[in-house]
Amino acid sequence: MSLDNRPSGRRKSVSYAKWGYIFILPFFLVYFIFTLIPQVLTVYNSFFTNYMDGLTHIGPDFVGLKNYVELFTPNKQGVILILKYAGNTMILWFLGAIPQFAIALLLAVFFTSYRLNIKGQGFFKTVIYMPNLIMASAFSMLFFTLFSKVGPVNQLLQQTGLADKTIDFFVSKVTVRGLIALMNFLMWFGNTTIVLMAGIMGIDQTLFEAATIDGANAVKVFFRVTMPLLMPIFVYCLITALIGGIQMFDVPQVLTNRLGMPNRTSFTLVMYLNNYLSTSKNYGMSGAISVIIFLITGVLGGIVYKFLSAQYKEPVEQPRRVRKGARK
């Protein structure tokens, strides 16, 4: 249906053009009402004071950039809260994403290796992908009960003698962050593995054979052939994971019962937004936070994309390096 079909299709479809508009109309109508208008409203709200103080409604009064200034003004302890929460979000994301991508890359290479010929791949893939579909709030509640003071983890540690007294996992910054990172890792590494596997299988297999025949060992093949060719998909995964990370909410919200304990060290940006929005209907402040989240999403996505695409271009442009290395 390629060349000779195209002109006739185009000629015919001219008279049917209106159906194109009719068919895409519902999508755009719904998008306009339920996404675009709310988006504009969000930005609009960020320039107003508008919240509930108990039962009294304050505002809306136009205040220009006052909400933004307030967000970046240090509190009595000299801490700029939004920066602290942005930092928390990034730390939580990194702690989960580093093992997520390392393990996913490793597994993707294992699963696609003909020489290793791993059996039971279907089973392993089914198991590692499963946590991705589990309700994040229920998963968090489950982790909370498992790791609570009287939960099975503490019981197990004491019955086996690994710990001599009850460990409270929810009083230390390290353990709470560790648990959130572990949950995020569990929920996402299977997904990343499957996507990266598809990426590796999409690479021309003769390249691997050629490199092997030229004497490249597995490590060399990985760094000089697999990785450069996998880069576009790797970048795609990384960006989507990052954008997902900035939106981190369900897990810390339920695990820490919306407190981000201890001392708000696991309080994320979206929890901050949600806090303003749900308790005092503070549309002004939550609007300003939304705009900032939107900007961070855009900037971070751009940086990662630029940085990594510059990296992967280099070996692709100079394929000679692969051959040179392999010939030795």
Binding site: V30, Q39, L116, V127, I134, M135, F144, L277, Y283, S290
Partner: protein, 285 residues
Amino acid sequence: MNENTKSRLMMILLRVVVYAILIFLTVLCLFSFYMMIINATRSNAQLQAGFRLLPQEHFWDNLKNAWTDASINIPRGMLNSLFIALTSAALTTYFSALTAYGVHVYSFRGKNLVFTFIMAIMMIPAQVSAVGFVQMMNKLHMTNNYIPLIVPSIAAPVVFFYMKQYMESVLPLEIVEAARCDGSSEFRTFNTIILPIMKPAIAVQAIFSFVSSWNNYFIPALLLDKAEMKTVPIMIAQLRSADYSKFDMGKVYMFILLAILPVMLVYIILSKSIIKGVTSGSVKG
């Protein structure tokens, strides 16, 4: 010969390491769910008594206690969640296929712009518009209403993208032309000829849409506060903020089990096609 046996030994060693890693990860993935199922079969007293790897006899007691709990009406929540998830899945797949069909089959001015636009909005996080969304729904008195949770699923860029990709690979335009020659109207062609062809894509996206709707917590929690309207994730969060020490822990595990169960069942039955669906839509080539 010596080299050969050496490399063969290395291969066996490597294989052992790989399987060890895989088994470790399997245990890590399944441990929490295994404990959930085991603990849902134990009474509160048994749970306090200590750790145990094998089930006990209180599964039905816990189920009855959780099902008839006075403060958390889990059957109602499951029914609410099921209704929202099913209608969202139906709407999102039908209208995404319709939109993709509109862009795929017809030529019209601005068609490329439409495609680029949908691609561009795909990356915008939903939470960014939450403030305006909640404000608007408050003004329109649409809180404690399922319309704002269901209707927006009509405009789903990711599902659209998947459907478009699928059409490019399976839908020859000759079918459409043949249907026209036979006098079929455009809508009829779509409903009776195109949709059946799209069945595999619709099934996969319906599952993903069902799951994400069933699990959705952020927006519903901001819009639903009437007890009889609440969905499962809101109830689970409520469980977390309730006074914990008074709770029957066997019941708590049962609540979590019930929240996860529908998706787990769907996954166990359809895991193969779900895993296939993870890659085919999200990554080009």
